[in-house]
């Protein structure tokens, strides 16, 4: 296992070292809170970030498994296409926006606009999310074990939003549907895989009321 100390280093230097080090061995990065865009665009490998990470960590991830051992900043796992991003703590505004695929797991809470324009990823938040989570979702799953803020799943177009707790207000173009056995099995599999203490039976499922919600 290779360790990269990011102290006093810049994005270019750290990400270059990281790419050079990803040769089958997991790589540990420490002291990287000041780096924004850490582990950007990786296509393979395992990365463990000791402590917290800055903004845009795991942006454009295309196959790597990236674990952040504490908290992460804004726009975590932005525009991910493949792979996995796991945050042991909480994340800020705009987690997992514009994702096409892969899995994002946040064990703590996540900020506003989580999962905006999700186009196919599985986004799992074990805690609470802020307002506007799931805005403009086109595909994929957004799973919230805790509570959500205002405008939850606002202008949902396609895809599934699941929530174990409650929301302050539901967004436009949404409707609540009964959980199916397949939904429960899917959530149970996620929770077992990522060791999240939640009971899928109590979850509610939100889908789009219409696939064309916009007044053009």
């Amino acid at each position: 296992m290779k360790t990269i100390d990011a102290k006093n280093k810049d994005l270019k230097s750290v990400n270059r070292s990281l790419k050079e080090s990803l040769n089958g061995q997991p790589v540990v990065i420490k002291n990287a809170t000041h780096i924004h865009g850490l582990a950007a665009g990786l296509k393979h490998g395992e990365v463990e970030i000791k402590g917290s990470a800055g903004d845009y960590v795991g942006v454009l991830n295309d196959g790597a498994v990236i674990k952040i051992m504490k908290n992460a900043g804004k726009y975590t796992a932005d525009n991910m296409t493949k792979g996995t991003v796991i945050v042991s703590g909480s994340t800020e505004f705009g987690t997992a926006q514009y994702c096409y695929g892969g899995t994002v797991v946040i064990y703590g809470d996540s900020g506003d606009f989580t999962g905006t324009m999700n186009k196919g990823a599985a986004i799992i938040i074990a805690g609470d999310v802020g307002s506007d989570a799931g805005t403009y979702m086109l595909k994929g799953d957004l799973i919230i074990a805790g509570n959500a803020g205002d405008h939850f799943a606002n202008y949902l177009i396609r895809g599934n939003v699941y929530i174990g707790g409650t929301w302050k207000s539901l967004g436009n173009n949404t409707k609540i549907e009964p959980m199916t056995d397949a939904d429960i099995a899917k959530l149970r599999a996620y929770f077992e895989t990522y060791e999240i203490d939640a009971n899928p039976v109590v979850f509610k499922k939100i889908v789009a009321a219409s696939e064309k919600p916009f007044y053009k």
Binding site: H36, A40, Y56, D62, T81, E211
Partner: protein
């Protein structure tokens, strides 16, 4: 206001095939995007049922096998009935009947301040002698990103194709643009709709995916657009081009995101964009993953990182506050900034936005140039003018106003055969340029289209050379506002150019420039944009 009630449609029944043999021909009804003609299916007779809807595109006259149709401008109603012209009345009727506002394609129509009221000043005895276009050389090359990345873009001519997405355009049109770019050494742009795979190798001049068989010299460049909808965006997508363009806005609808209506989201478009078939692909008006200028700097930083610091970063702006917006792009780390004026085109936009939002291209350039000068990066961070550039004359004027290159969007579509019917959003383009329907797409041969585009670029390049050299310059880099004069007060006031006959800028500019006259604004703010936020 839509272009309605402005044209008279007349069909010569003596020669019209349908009039002589009902049912034998319905071409005009098939090709008209606005339903001016209707076929009576029972009798086979064709009638002009809605002549008020004619926008004067004359597609019907081009397709009519008997040359039986004439389209002539109606009386100038804008003079006699303004403001309650027929078009204004029809617009109110449409809204009151449907509850919807008007959507349309293409760009602004009608009079706006433009390049036509600027004239070129030839060189004579009082300035450097003119150069001989036929016997001397003229440097037309533009290099973007030479100090910031490993592989700068080296445009052989000072032109790019404006960003137009797959979805808005057909695959054949995208391929033609790529071929045209390869044949002339300029750059094409994916637009925000993802990458048509063929674009990547065609733009570089190759005919195969592996890029082993080069056909078109000198080969061009592919600009990859990164936008608010992020359609079809991945790390592979970003690395498939020669530059990345961060789209902030566009001329036809500044402050709004892209509109691709579900009717045009076919299986092919769905695959490239990564959105479900038939769903409207409406891009957000802003980046959800950028809230501050610092975020934008970080975005540029990771875009450079995932492209291995190989390619330049462009920004594309709509016409809003050019000085401050260009300053922000400079601070964010742009290598080139495209600024798209009011007249810029689009595949679909609310009519009121296309007509009434934003400022003209000629008004964008002076403050944009001044921002570059104030930051000490004019001619280093390249400025690309977009919006209503139709020919080498417009291009020359834009470059003399301070741009390094210009982009053609609407003109490129016209070069492919477009007749400007303002109905791109409907998906029924009879020339196959903005349609996804196989029967229309089959009419556009990408290779022939590419040749037409290359011809257009060659002609415009020659025009720019003529004007540059008769102004006494051997390089487009040497063009200045001294090579231009405004021909009316408005244009002099907007641009700061010297007024013909008066031979100096208007007094309002004199005071701003400390009596020096010339291009641009006085340094507007001592504080940098980042300090204001």
């Amino acid at each position: 206001m839509a272009v309605i009630g402005a044209f008279c449609v007349s069909v010569n029944k003596e020669i019209c095939l349908n009039a002589r043999m009902p049912g034998k021909c319905a071409t005009c009804a098939e090709v008209c995007p606005h339903g001016v003609y209707a076929l009576d299916r029972a009798t086979g007779e064709m009638e002009v049922v809605n002549f008020n809807a004619c926008v004067g595109c004359r597609i019907c006259t081009e397709f009519c096998p008997e040359n039986a149709i004439r389209i002539n401008p109606a009386e100038p109603e804008y003079i006699s009935r303004y403001p309650w012209t027929f078009a204004a009345i029809e617009e109110v009727h449409y809204k009151s009947q449907t509850g919807e506002y008007l959507l349309r394609g293409f760009g602004t129509h009608g009079q706006t301040p433009n390049f036509d009221m600027i004239t070129v000043v030839p060189s004579q005895i009082a300035s450097a002698a003119p150069l001989d276009k036929y016997r001397e050389e003229c440097d037309m090359q533009v290099v973007i990103g030479e100090d910031t990345c490993e592989k700068p873009v080296v445009l052989k001519q000072p032109f790019v194709w404006a960003a137009m997405s797959f979805g808005a355009l057909s695959k054949e049109a995208k391929m033609a643009l790529a071929i045209g770019a390869a044949m002339t050494g300029i750059a094409t742009n994916t637009g925000e709709g993802g990458l048509v795979p063929e674009e990547a190798w065609l733009a570089r001049g190759f005919t195969d995916k592996e890029m082993t068989r080069k056909k078109h010299d000198p080969g061009g460049y592919l600009i990859i657009q990164w936008s608010t909808g992020r359609w079809g965006v991945s790390v592979d997508y970003l690395n498939s081009g020669d530059a990345v363009e961060v789209k902030i806005g566009q001329g036809a609808k500044p402050g709004m995101g892209g509109h691709l209506l579900g009717a045009k989201v076919t299986e092919d478009v769905s695959r490239v964009r990564g959105v479900p078939v038939g769903s409207d692909a409406l891009s957000p008006c802003r980046y959800y993953d950028v809230q501050t200028l610092d975020d934008m700097k970080r975005m540029v930083a990771f875009l450079r990182d995932v492209t291995e610091y190989q390619v330049p970063i462009f920004f594309k702006l709509g016409p809003s506050r050019p000085y401050a917006d260009v300053a922000a792009c400079i601070e964010a780390g742009a290598d080139a900034i495209s600024i798209d004026g009011l007249v810029g085109g689009t595949g679909c936009s609310p009519d009121i936005v296309t007509q009434g939002v934003g400022i003209p291209t000629i008004a964008c350039l002076p403050p944009a140039v001044q921002a570059l000068k104030d930051y000490g990066v004019h001619r280093k961070v390249k400025l690309i003018a977009l919006g209503g550039i139709r020919n080498g004359l417009d291009a020359y004027k834009a470059m003399a106003l301070g741009a390094d290159a210009v982009g053609f969007g609407s003109a490129a579509e016209v070069a492919l055969g477009c007749r400007v019917c303002y109905a791109c959003q409907k998906g029924n383009c009879p020339y196959g340029i903005t349609s996804q329907k196989p029967e229309y797409r089959a009419r556009l041969d990408p290779i022939e289209g590419g040749k037409r585009l290359a011809n257009f670029i060659h002609a415009c390049a020659e025009e720019v050379k003529i004007l540059t050299m008769l102004s006494g310059h051997g390089s487009i880099k040497d063009l200045t506002t001294e090579d231009l004069r405004a021909m009316d007060l408005n244009t002099a006031a907007i641009t700061g150019l010297k007024l013909c006959g008066y031979e100096r800028p208007l007094p309002i500019w004199d005071s701003m420039m400390g009596g020096n006259g010339g291009n641009g604004h006085k340094k507007m703010e001592s504080k940098k944009v980042s300090e204001e936020r």
